[in-house]
């Protein structure tokens, strides 16, 4: 077993455990902490694939900025533990069969896949921050600017909602 496969399994296990714990935890802060573990483990997986820039940005944006805001709001509201309720009928009769079906589908897909999976393209074409930014600001400049407009509109919406009514 090569070291990189070992690291992959550790990080993948961390991500899965974090994701499961995110749903099972009863306290919102513990759920948020589990989500941070997932984010950091994902960043580690990106690093393993050779996408250093994406890994660093994953931690800075998702692990840092967004999750800090989550934690900040939960702390500010000082929300207590949530109460366990019985599952709704829809969840019991619709959700469980659906989950089993999806799990079966994935298992079938893995079982039918022949030979080795194609390796991730870590050939340096998308990994360097220079080539990445060249692509963003030349070929994909309109989608990129449109996305930033979308975020701007969201910020404006938040300001309008937060404004006190006169």
């Amino acid at each position: 077993m090569t070291p990189s496969i070992l690291i992959f399994f550790v990080l993948a296990a961390l991500a899965v455990i974090g994701a499961v714990s995110l749903i099972l935890q009863r306290h919102p802060i513990h759920s948020a902490l589990s989500l941070i573990v997932v984010m950091v483990a994902l960043a580690g997986l990106y690093l393993l694939l050779g996408a250093e820039f994406v890994a660093a940005v994953q931690i800075i944006v998702y692990g840092g900025a967004i999750m800090v805001l989550f934690i900040f709001v939960i702390m500010l509201l000082n929300d207590g533990e949530e109460e366990r309720t019985n599952f709704s009928k829809l969840a019991t009769f619709g959700g469980i069969p659906l989950a089993v079906a999806i799990a079966g589908l994935i298992a079938a897909a893995i079982a039918h896949s022949t030979g080795d999976l194609p390796a991730a393209t870590a050939n340096g074409s998308l990994t360097s921050s220079k080539t990445l930014s060249m692509l963003i600001f030349t070929d994909f400049v309109y989608p990129f600017e449109l996305t930033s407009f979308l975020i701007l509109i969201a910020i404006l919406g938040a300001i309008v909602l937060a404004q006190r009514e006169n």
Partner: protein, 403 residues
Amino acid sequence: MNEFLSQYAYLIVPIIKIAILVLVVLTVDAYLTWLERKVIAHIQARWGPHRVGPHGLLQPLADGLKFIFKEDPMPANVDKVAYVLAPFITFLLAFTSLAVIPFGPQTFTIWGYQTTVGIADVNISLLVLFAITALGVYGIALAGWGSNSKYSLLGGLRSSAQMISYELSLTLSVVGVLLIASDFSLRKIVEQQGTSGNGLLSWNIFPQIIGFTCFFISAIAETNRVPFDLPEAESELVAGFHTEYASMKFAMFFIAEYTSMIAVSCLATILFFGGWLSPFPASWTFTFYLPSVILIPFGLWVIFDGIRYENIFGRILLPGIGTILTLLGAALLLFPQVNGIVQGPFWFFAKVFIFLFVYIWMRGTLPRFRYDQLMSFGWKFLLPVSIANVILTSAVILWRTRQ
């Protein structure tokens, strides 16, 4: 044995380097507290620590022992996971941030494994540092929330708000340096500042004076030091987020604070003050002997001052330290090769020391911000200025390349 070493050198060499760095940084942290207490005491016309050892030199040791042997009670109704995890997160992240900092220019080979001065030479080291800083908020936020005390909670909330606000201007203020160096690697950024051979004149501080001002102010806010230490404002919040902590858990917050001070000083040195480069032009060869010229007179002064110390222990210890310093300086004169290796780290640590001194100096001089002043200063002044600096720098670079 040798075969084993060369086969696993990629594991063994970094572990040895990490162990050395952690030991050195812990010692420096301890003596930084001594220096801080001494300097502030003299600013306020007091003596500072002077009971434990000559000039209080053994005070950090006494403090450390006291921290270890103190009882570590856990308050009732705390959130156990967050309460225990918080000091570890803070401590771990503070030390992790030192891992990507290059301390010198050399690369050397041990057991067939090529390595550098510094733990890891990553090509996105600046981004890694910012990623670690971004995670640093959690330790303080969790400590504040997990302690289940209103002072801690208020301290934690203040601190998270402050760190979110100043992280933006911290990141934006270095964009100017990135544009000049056009690389994320701290090593490349330093090397780029030394290409012209003019010494001090080619450092980033001159084209990026606005960027440096924004960087330094936001860095002080990120490390929660005076005048931005509102999270632990003792007159309002007892001790802020670490009110409920005692013993080693408290010490871990304390060590983490000093370690992040060191990390930020290293970063300022690398980005704006040429890292390990000498401030003198490359043609001035006599500056090669500067480490000895500083060490020998300082060592002699310690010897002659120590002989007259009031008790016998000091009369032995101080001249001993002085003799070691003088011999070190003499050894550097005798072995020019060793002196050549020492040059880079000498300048690096000299610059870092100046920044650490400025940190302490400010603590003895400046009053604390009011909370609303802190927020409006960060958002309404620092952030626009650092964005303006980015636009200005890129405009100048564009204008120069078009010519």
